[in-house]
């Protein structure tokens, strides 16, 4: 479902003398349907950079990133928009929403964007919020005022409300208590069981051991220093 080949990335800092910083070279991995692959490596090794490239948030310098039928590395913006809407879900560590929009609407939005009937979208959002132990009295409020753990669970609800065939998870269990961590791990296991391909970063080692089928160490994708 996800196939990355010979992927490279560099940043050019025009306002710092045009310095070119190569950050990745020769990256390759695959994630099949029903499989969860965890990215490992120390901070700064490029785990998040790789995830962002798969999401189309960072441009690739070379190589290919196939998600389903689409090569994200060369796709048009509108193709990536359609991919994100229908195929590729994303749970980031940051919640970016329009202020003042109620939590229930924030979670239902991915379904509304897919043309799901509004009532059904809200019911599915409510079921997921309930499962993630977000108290019903908070649903009419904007999540921007929530605690870190609550915001993360809203983000997770948004990422799981539609049955995306592929999912990117950036530390989905960080800052969660044991009960909510268990709910999230169950959601991941259910997604795998229905055939979703999952690529994730898990610093929580026990979680990683439980849901990941394989690990890929991104230090292998660090560009070799020029001799």
């Amino acid at each position: 479902m996800i196939r990355i080949e010979n992927l490279s990335k560099s940043f050019t800092l025009h306002n710092q003398g045009g310095a070119v910083i190569p950050v990745m070279a020769g990256a390759a991995l695959t994630v099949g349907p029903g499989e969860c692959v965890g990215l490992t490596g120390p901070s700064g090794a490029g785990k998040s950079t790789l995830m962002r490239m798969v999401h189309g948030n960072y441009l690739a310098a070379g190589g290919s990133i196939r998600v389903g039928e689409l090569d994200v590395a060369t796709a048009e913006p509108r193709q990536i928009i359609a991919l994100r809407r229908q195929v590729l879900g994303h749970v980031s560590q940051f919640l970016r929403v329009v202020p003042r929009v109620p939590t229930l609407e924030v979670v239902a939005e991915p379904l509304l964007a897919l043309g799901t009937d509004a009532e059904e979208a809200r019911e599915r959002a409510a079921a997921l919020l309930r499962r993630l132990n977000i108290p019903e009295r908070l649903w009419p409020l904007s999540p921007t005022t929530f605690s870190g753990g609550e915001q993360q669970r809203v983000n997770i609800a948004r990422g799981f409300v539609h049955a995306y065939p592929a999912l990117l998870l950036d530390e989905p269990t960080a800052s969660l208590d044991a009960a909510n961590r268990e709910v999230v791990l169950n959601l991941i296991e259910e997604a795998k069981a229905r055939g979703a391909a999952i690529l994730g970063i898990f610093h929580d080692e026990a979680a990683r051991a439980r849901v990941c089928d394989r690990l890929v160490d991104v230090t292998g994708f660090t560009p070799k220093a020029a001799a």
Partner: protein
């Protein structure tokens, strides 16, 4: 057929712009601007004052005549069509939301009249239907029904802007031009307007071109982003990609200059 299915089927751009150029004597207003806009897409145009973004918008909307280039709307060459046909287009298929609601509203006419007037301009004559539709649109932009006979001069800035949006959208346009629509508003009012615009774009499948200098607004509203400097497009792409991984020196400067809150 759902809206999404219809949108997925439309592989033709609603608007195609090729090499659009406008000069003021020796000075460049905008130069060689090209892009496609598809149904349901929101395109943000950012850049500092004098970058040509407002000139571009007014050329696209037909408020100014471009010197060179082509604008093809729904298969029709806009710059080649007779003036009457172009005017008809801007009354029916297109809408233009001004930064200052006073430029887009008639301040001496009631809120309901402001919305109804645009309907009458496209041939609506039945008073009851016009008033009913105006009331419906005032509700959609969250203006209380008991304000329908009030003049916009009695409204707050945020309400005036929502009224301007209702006046523009009542005729069911497919393409909406917006010039800094959240410009003069308090941040809390801005948030409400952003939420409203997002909902309308999603539910009506509108295509929108929005000019702004506010990067936070485009991040939340625009699918795609075009960055302008000195009349030229220096970079364009997926909004979050352009903001998070800017390629051009000017975009890097623009993004790194935003104050964090």
């Amino acid at each position: 057929m759902t809206l999404m299915e219809r949108m997925a089927m439309t592989d033709q751009p609603l608007l195609r712009v090729e090499g659009l150029t406008k000069r003021y004597g020796q000075r460049i207003g905008c130069a060689e601007v090209s892009f496609d806009l598809y149904p349901g897409e929101v395109l943000g145009i950012v850049g500092e004052s004098g970058s040509g973004k407002s000139t571009l918008l007014s050329c696209l909307a037909g408020h100014q005549r471009a010197d060179l280039g082509r604008i093809v709307y729904d298969g029709r060459d806009v710059l080649a069509m007779p003036e009457t046909e172009r005017r008809r287009l801007s009354r029916t298929d297109w809408a233009y939301v001004h930064q200052n609601p006073r430029d887009g509203l008639r301040m001496g006419v009631s809120a309901g009249g402001n919305v109804g007037e645009r309907l009458m301009a496209v041939g609506a004559r039945h008073y009851g239907e016009i008033r009913g539709k105006a009331a419906d649109w005032l509700a959609r932009v969250e203006i209380a029904a008991d304000r329908i006979d009030d003049r916009p001069s009695a409204f707050s800035g945020g309400m005036q802007q929502r009224l301007q949006i209702a006046r523009n959208l009542v005729t069911g346009p497919r393409l909406v031009f917006m010039d800094e629509p959240t410009g003069g508003l308090d941040v809390s009012v801005q948030a409400r307007l952003l939420d409203l615009l997002r909902g309308l774009v999603r539910d009506l499948g509108l295509s929108v071109i929005i000019v702004t200098h506010d990067l936070a607004v485009v991040r939340l509203l625009a699918h795609r982003l075009m960055v302008m400097k000195s009349g030229r497009v220096v970079e364009q792409g997926l909004t979050d990609q352009v903001l998070d991984d800017p390629q051009h020196a000017y975009t890097q400067l623009l993004v790194s200059s935003v104050l964090q809150v």
